[in-house]
Symmetry: C2
Subunit: 303 residues, 2 copies
């Protein structure tokens, strides 16, 4: 199958390499020269504009940051849609509002293209290994056409229904949990520090007990290491919890915990940490209380 | 070692049986006739009042519901303290405020007794298997004297410092995470239902992805099964998040997410669900939005 991968960031680049590894013919597309060079070095073929993918490309995996970028890459003046044959399939994995997914799917149908609303989870490691969780909805024909792509990038592929938008909804619900879990991990760790506990012991106790979450275990390790290099940034969760807020209001559904968590990420960004690792939402609590984190004066050692 | 277990509920009864299994001579104590009968059937010796444990008991594990019960069982008119020899050790595992743990430890010291502030986590299954997580603080002599009890009931035993109160603090921090994780699991599941997702698919996606928590996986299974039999009740988290609130205020530390979660458990209790399984904090969201849960008319099947 002749495919393209639009967006060669930490997720898209990994997924593109996973497709190469499964024997698909993959053109990668990214405006970043570094991203293109890395994909070429991995044996792929990279272009800078989506309109430069080969004519007759049968499937396109779109892993941009948001809906606006996805729309530009597909239907914009330099978009990929004209390079795809009728019956080609778009697998759109950017996190976006369900309404955006439905609008993209309708525009694709008008051009004779199949559309899979297919957000993903799992992080850069799962992307590179081809073991992402794919939360997909769309017509059976779209699933059938996308099968080689789904097989290459997904460890588990969920079929959530025929209607585009259900995949996006599932991802937004997932991000509600992810965002609140990161924020409450920070709240608990920061309270523990303030109340006199050793943060490394807090981590050890929690990760071995019923209070654990995937995010606590993954993200609080960054805090203990004093490493705020952004694998996923505070600003990403301002975006994603903003999508939660919008979806919930659209569905007439109050989300008090997600709304509160969003405010904490906003506070971290207000203090200059929007581009830092999302675990450093803990700096919102630091700003409120003056606690010292591991690696800071009075905050003990990093590990 | 001649020991006693005060409180033979789901946690204390299991821990008492785990001590029996390790060859300790165990007297169990509980006002409930059923709990005593179950412990006698397991090969133990049960009494109804703490003052009826054998004279010369060397160690007492206290697993009551709260600090007031623990104090009554140890120092009350029918308490166990007079039955313990000097140098005997109290292992107090009830969840309580750190200040209560410090006060109990001081009173024990005044009577020549050793004291271990030793809350636990893991649920009834881990209690019965002797694999609880024990979050303990106290003097080295107290740890040494309590070793056979800790070996019998703990899968991992954390030594959090010499000062009574640190164990209680760690448990309260842990319950912050546990309580918020249950409430946000309910928020996400309820939003998914309102937005048109299949709750069984939501469960499948989340438990295989980065949005998972121990509590989501454990408690949302109760919601999908439509089973509100209380393993741990909504009212327990009103108590425990109340301890979080008190500890945090005492430490001058704001806990916006825990405070919000507490309000949701209170709302569930206000609607008559205080005695139901804590996962049914989801009925607070149901009261706000009118969603149907699995097993209810329009809510789909249970599983």
């Amino acid at each position: 199958m002749r495919v393209a991968a639009i967006g060669l960031g930490s997720m898209g680049g990994g997924a593109a390499r996973a497709m190469l590894a499964k024997g698909l013919v993959v053109t990668g597309c990214d405006p970043s020269e570094n991203a293109r060079a890395a994909f070429n070095a991995a044996g792929g073929q990279a272009v800078s504009r989506a309109c430069d993918i080969p004519a007759g490309t049968e499937g396109v995996l779109v892993l941009t940051v948001n809906a606006a970028q996805a729309r530009a890459a597909i239907f914009g003046p330099e978009g990929c849609a004209p390079r795809m044959g009728r019956g080609g399939v778009l697998v759109v994995s950017a996190t976006m509002a369900p309404a955006d997914a439905r609008a993209l799917a309708a525009d694709a149908a008008a051009m004779g293209l199949l559309y899979l609303d297919a957000p993903v989870s799992g992080g850069a490691k799962a992307a590179a290994a081809g073991t992402m969780t794919v939360m997909a909805s769309g017509a059976p024909e779209a699933f059938a056409a996308a099968q080689p792509i789904l097989d290459a990038v997904g460890g588990s592929v969920w079929k959530l229904g025929d209607a585009p938008g259900l995949g996006a909804t599932m991802k937004v619900v997932h991000q509600l949990l992810a965002g609140v879990h990161i924020a409450v991990a920070a709240e608990a760790m920061a309270l523990g520090i303030k109340a006199g506990l050793d943060p490394h012991q807090v981590y050890g106790v929690v990760t071995g007990a019923a209070g654990n979450s995937w995010m606590f275990e993954n993200r609080m390790a960054h805090v203990l290491a004093g490493d705020d290099t952004p694998l996923s940034a505070v600003n990403i969760f301002i975006k994603d919890l903003g999508l939660v807020d919008a979806l919930a209001r659209d569905a007439s559904f109050p989300v008090p915990l997600a709304a509160q968590a969003l405010q904490l990420f906003v506070a971290a960004a207000a203090n200059g940490h929007g581009g830092k690792d999302d675990a450093f939402v803990i700096r919102a609590y630091q700003a409120l209380t003056g606690i010292a984190l591991p690696g800071e004066p009075g905050g003990g050692t990093t590990r």
